[in-house]
Symmetry: C2
Subunit: 145 residues, 2 copies
DNA sequence: TTCGTTCTCTTGAATGATTCAGGTTTATGA
DNA sequence: TCATAAACCTGAATCATTCAAGAGAACGAA
C-alpha cells in the first residue's frame, strides 16, 4: 500500500507537473507504442482508446508533453511533425526520401551534443541533430528492380 | 571573340539546361549574394534587380535551380525554406533557436555522406544532414545579461 | 528571319499543418 | 466543498507552399 511502485503513465504525467486526464494518458501511451507518429495518427490512436478528443487538444497536449520532456518532436524537411517516446538519449534518424519512413539511429559519438562544430561562429550549441537521407529497403528495391 | 571565358551566370543557367531569363539570372545572383535567404527575401532581391516578378515565378525558379544543383535548399524545423548558393560540398549549419539565424559549418569529416550511421536499417543513405542548434552570439548575450 | 515547341511567367485559388481566440469543463489541492 | 488554473472544445485564422490554366517569351530548327 505504501510502496512506491514503478511509475505508471499517470504518475509520470503528474510528476511532470501535468494533470492526469484520460486523453493525456492515452496520448502518451499512443506515442510510446507508436513509431514516430504524426499528429493525425496520434489523434486516432488516442480516440481508439478514449473516444472523442479534438485535434486541438492533441496539439496542446503534444506541446505540453514535449515541453515537459516526456515526448520528443522531430520534423524532417518536407513532412509534418512526428513524435516519439524515446527521449533523453540524443539519438538520430534515417529518413526515406521517397516514402518518408523514419527509423532510429543511435548516436555514433556519445552524449548530446554528439558532434563538435568545426567552427561554431560564436553560437552556444546545445544539440547536434543528424538526419540521414536515403531510401528505405522497400523504396530502393522498387526503384532498382 | 572565340574564347570560352569563365562562365557567367547566364552560361551556368544554360549549361544546366535552363533558359536564360532576366528573372532567373537575377535570382541566382541574389541567392549567391545572400546568406541563406528565405523566399520572400529572394523575391525582393530579384525585384530590386529586374522589377516585377511574381512570387510564383520565384518558387518555380527555385525549384528548377535546386533540381539543377545550382542552389541548395535547407529547411530547419520551424522555419520556412532557405536557399544558398554554396552547393556540392556537403556543409552543415548552426541555427539559432531564438532568432533563426543560420551560419555555415564545414563538414567535420569529409565528403558526403560525411557520417556513417551506426545502423542504417537497410536504408541506402546518400546524405547526412547536420543541424547544430543553439543560440547565436546576439541572442545568448541578450538572455544571459 | 520566321516558326513552333516548350519552358517560363502570370494571376488567382486551393491546400494543409499549425496556431490563435474565446468560452466551457474539469482535475486538483486547499 | 470550492476556487483556480489547467485542459478541452469549436471555429476561425495564418502562412508557406502548391495547384491550375492561360499568356508570353526563349531558342533551336527551318
Ligand atoms: Mn527516434
Ligand atoms: Mn550554408
Ligand atoms: Zn521508403
Ligand atoms: Zn539568435
Amino acid at each position: 500500500m505504501t510502496a512506491s511502485q514503478p511509475s505508471t503513465t499517470a504518475e509520470e504525467l503528474r510528476g511532470a507537473g501535468l494533470r492526469v486526464t484520460a486523453a493525456r494518458v492515452a496520448l502518451l501511451d499512443t506515442v510510446r507504442d507508436g513509431d514516430h507518429l504524426d499528429v493525425e495518427s496520434i489523434a486516432s490512436g488516442v480516440r481508439d482508446r478514449v473516444g472523442h478528443v479534438s485535434l486541438q487538444a492533441v496539439y496542446e497536449a503534444l506541446y505540453a508533453l514535449t515541453a515537459a520532456g516526456l515526448v520528443r518532436r522531430i520534423e524532417p524537411a518536407g513532412s509534418p511533425a512526428r513524435f516519439e517516446g524515446r527521449v533523453g538519449d540524443n539519438h538520430h534518424h534515417v529518413v526515406c526520401r521517397s516514402c518518408g519512413a523514419v527509423a532510429d539511429v543511435d548516436c555514433a559519438v556519445g552524449e548530446a551534443p554528439c558532434l563538435d562544430a568545426s567552427d561554431d561562429h560564436g553560437f552556444s550549441i546545445d544539440e547536434a541533430e543528424v538526419i540521414y537521407w536515403g531510401l528505405c529497403p522497400g523504396c530502393s528495391t522498387t526503384r532498382s528492380s
